[in-house]
């Protein structure tokens, strides 16, 4: 058969490999273009949803548009601000904890008094069944932060129980909750250190 002869030729094999690579790249490029907008929209919806979880209540502005970028300990921090009557009532930003298997990305909402409104983990690679209890879908642990601030508990108690603090660790996973607690504490310190800019009151008579 002709095809069989052809298949043995080096040129055919090279062309075949090239052709397959070309076809698959074209397919991927088209798929990437076709899905890009939907993926962005889905991720923006996710972000909005997670912002709403850590910022309960209504704000008059679009959080995604009222932002300020400040230098934090781990690079620039993008802060979303929620306002009522023109005044910044709450801010949301990302903090990064160091877990057992890489970074744990959290968002936290803080009220203008410096109290935590909520913390949510948005991305992590912790051990399924052990470290993933930081997800609200799997355990209630992450809600322990609600209402806490620097002072309740006092600074040295901002740690997991194993380290002499007040926050529970999980059976078999201490590194994960320790990473989250430290990240949240760092987030509150960031709030305390940048309060004026965060609340958009730098120019005011204070």
């Amino acid at each position: 058969m002709k095809l069989e002869e052809l298949r043995g030729k080096l040129a055919y094999q090279g062309l075949l490999l090239g052709g397959v690579a070309l076809l698959t790249s074209v397919a991927l490029a088209f798929a990437s273009r076709a899905t890009e907008a939907d993926i962005k929209a889905a991720e923006a919806a996710d972000l909005k949803q997670s912002l709403a979880q850590v910022l309960p209540g209504e704000y008059e502005n679009d959080l995604l548009k009222d932002t300020v970028t400040l230098a934090g300990k781990e690079g620039d921090v993008l802060v979303y601000r929620g306002r009522r009557a023109g005044k910044v009532e709450a801010v949301v930003y990302r903090v990064i904890g160091h877990g057992y298997a890489g970074n744990i990305v959290c968002v936290m909402g803080v009220s203008r008094e410096g109290k935590i409104l909520g913390v949510r983990v948005i991305a992590h690679k912790e051990t399924p069944g052990l470290g993933d209890k930081i997800e609200p879908a799997k355990a209630k642990w992450i809600f322990d932060f609600d209402g806490k601030y620097l002072g309740d508990p006092v600074a040295e108690k901002w740690a997991v129980k194993k380290d002499g603090g007040v926050f529970d660790q999980f059976a078999g996973a201490t590194i994960t909750p320790r990473g989250v607690v430290n990240a949240v504490k760092g987030g509150l310190e960031f709030f305390a250190g940048n309060k004026a800019q965060l609340l958009d009151e730098t120019g005011g008579a204070q």
Binding site: Y12, L17, A21, L28, T35, D38, T127, P128
Partner: protein
């Protein structure tokens, strides 16, 4: 013809099971089977990819030179997985958030390349589709059993968080077997996976041997009579 389909089905589900007979795909198997739900998610995603890759590879099998077949298959499989990954991310985002972790892992699942090489490159499209489906279901069953055993001993639950994967209608699957269980970490960590796979493998061998011995005995009796 029917006999052939029955043979393919039996091979995929039991006698040539991806995990328990071919001993392929152990890396994803050990990595994701800490719960039965995770095993189910990985199994279903793999089944979909296996079915599609077998059909595609079977349809181009006459065009591909044997000398370059491996890179061609790998490129095709990787493309397929990426397409599935992107379309789930765009159009089934909720499902993607649960399965996302598993989908990228499918590229490195040697069972898929193994079936392309051993079956789809030598057989027609219908046979290959059935083979992909049955191998996938056999893989899914193996993962669910391993995950179930590890979950029961490791955290005394079964199908925990199934509603995240299958929707709220399936939350009835979720069971807590021993309330207030302290957890048995070894079972959840990878070493527990090795142990459970080993023990289940031994159990399957014993059952196969017993069945073969019984069949032999029956055959001998028939011969004597």
């Amino acid at each position: 013809m029917n006999e052939k389909y029955a043979h393919i089905t039996r091979e995929g589900l039991w006698s040539n099971n991806v995990v328990f007979a071919q001993m392929l795909a152990l890396c994803p198997t050990l990595a994701v089977t800490s719960t039965a739900t995770n095993g189910l998610g990985m199994g279903l995603a793999t089944t979909a990819v296996l079915l599609l890759s077998n059909v595609i590879i079977s349809s181009v099998r006459h065009l591909v030179s044997p000398e370059v077949r491996i890179p061609v298959y790998i490129v095709l499989i990787a493309t397929l997985v990426t397409l599935v990954d992107m379309s789930l991310n765009a159009w089934a985002h909720e499902l993607y958030k649960v399965l996302g972790l598993f989908i990228a892992l499918i590229v490195v699942n040697c069972a898929i390349l193994g079936r392309a090489e051993a079956f789809a490159s030598k057989n027609g499209m219908a046979d290959s589709a059935l083979d992909g489906l049955m191998m996938g279901l056999g893989f899914t069953a193996a993962l669910v059993v391993i995950g179930g055993v590890r979950e029961i001993f490791g955290s005394a639950t079964l199908f925990a968080n199934a509603h995240l994967l299958l929707g709220p209608a399936f939350s009835f699957l979720e069971m807590t077997i021993v309330p207030d269980y302290k957890g048995f970490l070894l079972m959840i960590l990878p070493p527990g996976g090795f142990m459970v796979v080993g023990l289940l493998l031994a159990a399957k061998r014993v059952s196969d041997q017993r069945r073969a011995a019984r069949a032999q005995l029956a055959a001998a009796e028939v011969a004597v009579n």
